[in-house]
């Protein structure tokens, strides 16, 4: 059998699972820190939440990269004929 396809599927699952792990922890920390800051200074909630959104988007990008890698492996793999 063509082992490249099997390895690709395993690698795609691997990429998504570990690619979700880091950003999940990081986003949790970011949200927790923002909650802490808003609890201390409720008047600065607007600035904090806007910065939080932009920061979360930045963090999330790494997970999205892993997702795109997984999709490339599954649908646009150059080594699968």
């Amino acid at each position: 059998m063509n082992y490249v396809e099997h390895v690709s599927i395993v690698a795609a699952a691997f990429a998504v699972s570990f690619g979700a792990l880091g950003p999940a922890l990081a986003e949790g920390r970011a949200v927790a820190a923002t909650m802490d800051a808003i609890a201390r200074q409720p008047e600065s909630a607007g600035v904090l939440s806007r910065t939080l959104f932009v920061g979360l988007a930045m963090i999330e990008t790494t997970a999205i990269y892993c997702l795109v890698i997984a999709l490339l492996l599954l649908f646009a793999n150059p080594y699968v004929r």
């Binding site: 999330e60 490339l72 646009a76």
Partner: protein
Amino acid sequence: MTDSPLTVTTLFHFGPVPITTPVVTTWGLMAVLAIGSALATRRLTLRPGALQTALELLVCGIAEQIRAIIRSDPTPLMPLVGTLFIFLATANLLGLLPGLEPPTAHLETTAALAGIVFVATHVYGVRSLGLKRYLAGFAQPVWIMLPLNIVSEFTRSISLMVRLFGNLMSGVFIGALVLSLAGLFVPIPFMALDILTGLVQAYIFAILAAVFIGAAIGATDRS
């Protein structure tokens, strides 16, 4: 199994040019937004009706967000950033209408939008600082940062493109998967999540465009 999310379906050929589904959707949406805006702003009055109040709320909200980022008059950025937000917010929600799918769930659309932001950043930067001062800004804070600054110009455009595509495409893809697994009411929570993702991604795209342009015109720190 559903189709590959990386390919687009060709609808018809316009001479030698293949016209794909996202192109048709985008042009339809552009027509609806342009004609709708033209009709809605045709009779502006000093005492606004319900529609004008809603539009003013939207425009003022966008202007306030931009002002908070660039800390100066938001008028020069309003045409670009406001249009980006309104277009993306509607385009990302198109998946809720039966038979349509968001054009932003394809890499080509988001690449074009990121390209617009990339070009606009430099145009705004050169226009507000002059070519020499703008180019000198790349060597800030020390000259050894020059290659990193140039690389970051490209990587942040690519991440802008991939972020929007990844979020929207995963929403569409998961929706299709769930629909093929379980029929009637099961996809509804995922569609509700899509509304949230779509609006947040439109907001983030517009905000990041404003942040990039703000950095280029020297209003905020280069990030």
